[in-house]
Amino acid sequence: MSEHLSGWGRTTTSIAQVQRPSDETAVEELLAQEPNIIARGLGRSYGDAAQVSGGVVLDNRGFDTIGPIGADGIVTLGGGVSIDQLLAVSVPLGWFVPVTPGTRQVSIGGAVAADVHGKNHHLDGSIGAHVLAMRLVTPTGIHSLSPTNDGELFWATLGAMGLTGFVTSVTLQLLRIETDQVLVDTDRFGDLDAVMAAMIERDEEFRYSVAWVDCMTRGSHMGRAILTRGVHATRADVNDATLRPPRSSKLAVPFVAPSGLLNSLSVKAFNEAWFRTSPRHQEREAHSLSSFFHPLDGLREWNRLYGKRGFVQYQFCVPHDAAETITNAIEYLSTSRVPSFLAVLKRFGPASPGPLSFPQPGWTLALDLPVGPSILPEVLDALDEMVLSAHGRVYFAKDARLGPDKVNAMYPRTKEFLDLKQRIDPDHRLTSDLARRLQLSGK
């Protein structure tokens, strides 16, 4: 069926034929036939990664089986199983996902394709570090992959944004939990230097750590921030320990808001309220899994609040020795006055071996920016330059506006990736609107 598709940011829409195969042979046939084809999960990437204008989009939800969870916490999942569906089964058995993005509504195929990171990246790395094996269908055949079985293709797939093929199943090592609670420390900081120093000092003591930074306040409170850090509560930590899975939200944004609703004033007011209501310092407060990991899932389709024109997310990372780029970026954003919600600041741990995997040791900052201000394109182009000169990069899963000329410098192993792609996809069938925009299809 022909469908209009766009990413979570609701910016670039294009039309493609959507197919939902449910066995590997069907996928294999489509990949061998179609000149322009890409996988799609739950459409939570922000830009144009999971769509291909005029081509065929393979909806991964036909691969929806969840295998038995072994005593060792190893489970094999269909590529279209969502983290939400997995947690519904695994949490009651005392297992959590090793890595979760800020929403449960992503498929495991999409999570692998983006090599997603969570609040525990500084200790546990990205999801690739917990994938034991996967099955991948390419235009030249079906592959059983693991770090030791065609490790090159295995790692290349982590971060490839679907451009190595269609992941039909993933074998994942889950994380043991005793309760469905997280013990959270919260601290409020008046400026950016203070929060970054605190993160460097004690992040290692917490499995999870993330800071929310205000990018709109200028002057001495520039970069004021709230740091939240947590650990899974043990049975001994809480009174009545339970293992209930996160519940899905009943609240949704019913219609697309007018563009411009989220402007500098309303965003400033929101940021202000957020800071006022946060505690200055609080220790070991019990939170549910969903309120700690997926606060945004409380309001379905919240992306509609950004109106018809949609919004972009700018997420970049820079190495530890370029931490001042974070300060410079926030300073630049606050002086350029483009409205931006609380930005997310985090420290990254070790990189994954994937040539297109995003995280590298250092710092990452993610900003949500409504499309509209006419200076925004130039502001972000200038940020690209700052990031590049610090040997950093932007995250493809969030990107909707980078130019192809920046890709090789941000991802220096792009050529290696394209050589491998040539081997498994000699006719360059695997492509997406993102791949066309960033010249990653190898054509």
Binding site: T12, S14, I15, S53, P377, R401, G403, P404, L434
Partner: protein, 255 residues
């Protein structure tokens, strides 16, 4: 592919050596356009425009030579331009046009027909082939240069204005027909722009230059407005002007 800000990367300009087209091409290349194919009737001007596009950041440029007096070549010209881009085409600009001197044209059947062919028939033929190709792509944009001269037609440029009026109204319907295809069409209605084509004409109010116009168009591409007026205030000026009683209208334009 267009990015989230409506900045195209691959562009075809039909009528690519006009002053306005060149100014627009420069601005698109300064943003994201890396592949540009320029079609027009003067090879040396096209080459100049192509090398200018490179100066502004294009990495791949090519040209197609054609004469808009012959609508039978339109499909071939569009096909050749698509082949020269060689990938998804993000934006096609139709900037083909001929103003000429009304007093030399109005009593000359051949000259009058030429104005109609270049400003109307050739673009219409090209649009048919463009429509087919872009709809198959599932996305892409068309930008058609119309003129405020098409909104209320002046007696000393009725051939040009009338042909542009035909194109302008036709494109309005064509844009509707594209709804749901992923392809969009935007019309540009500039006032008088100081260029080679209008050299010698007196500056009437709201006269702009090619640089301002191109800037306004780039903004319009970002916002997706169905009609881009330049200067933008003409949208409101013409809301009034188009309803002026005839004698008053003549006074306004024939000063």
């Amino acid at each position: 592919m267009d990015n989230a800000f409506g900045q195209p990367q691959t562009v075809i300009v039909l009528g690519g050596s006009s002053d306005i087209a060149r100014e627009l091409t420069k601005k698109l290349c300064a943003a994201r356009a890396h592949t540009v194919v320029l079609a027009g009737r003067n090879q040396s001007l096209l080459d100049e425009a192509a090398s200018e596009a490179k100066d502004y950041g294009a990495t791949t440029t090519d040209t197609v030579l054609f004469d808009a007096q012959d609508p039978s070549n339109a499909a071939r010209v569009v096909t050749e331009a698509f082949e020269k881009v060689g990938e998804h085409v993000d934006l096609v600009v139709i900037a083909v046009g001929l103003l000429g001197d009304q007093f030399e044209q109005e009593d000359d059947a051949e000259a009058a027909a030429r104005v109609a062919t270049i400003n109307f028939t050739w673009p219409v033929a090209a649009l048919a082939e463009l429509r087919r190709r872009l709809v198959a792509q599932g996305s892409g944009r068309i930008l058609v240069m119309s003129s405020v001269a098409s909104i209320r037609i002046r007696r000393n440029a009725y051939l040009y204005g009338g042909a542009k009026a035909g194109l302008d109204r036709l494109c309005d319907g064509l844009a509707d027909s594209l709804s749901g295809t992923g392809v969009t069409l935007q019309l540009v209605r500039p006032g008088v722009v100081r260029t080679k084509m209008t050299a010698g004409l007196p500056d009437i109010p709201f006269t702009t230059n090619a640089d301002d116009l191109a800037r306004t168009i780039v903004k319009g591409l970002a916002s997706g407005d169905r009609v881009i007026w330049s200067p933008p205030i003409l949208r409101y000026a013409f809301a009034v002007l188009r309803h002026l009683p005839k004698p008053v209208w003549r006074k306004v334009v024939d000063r």
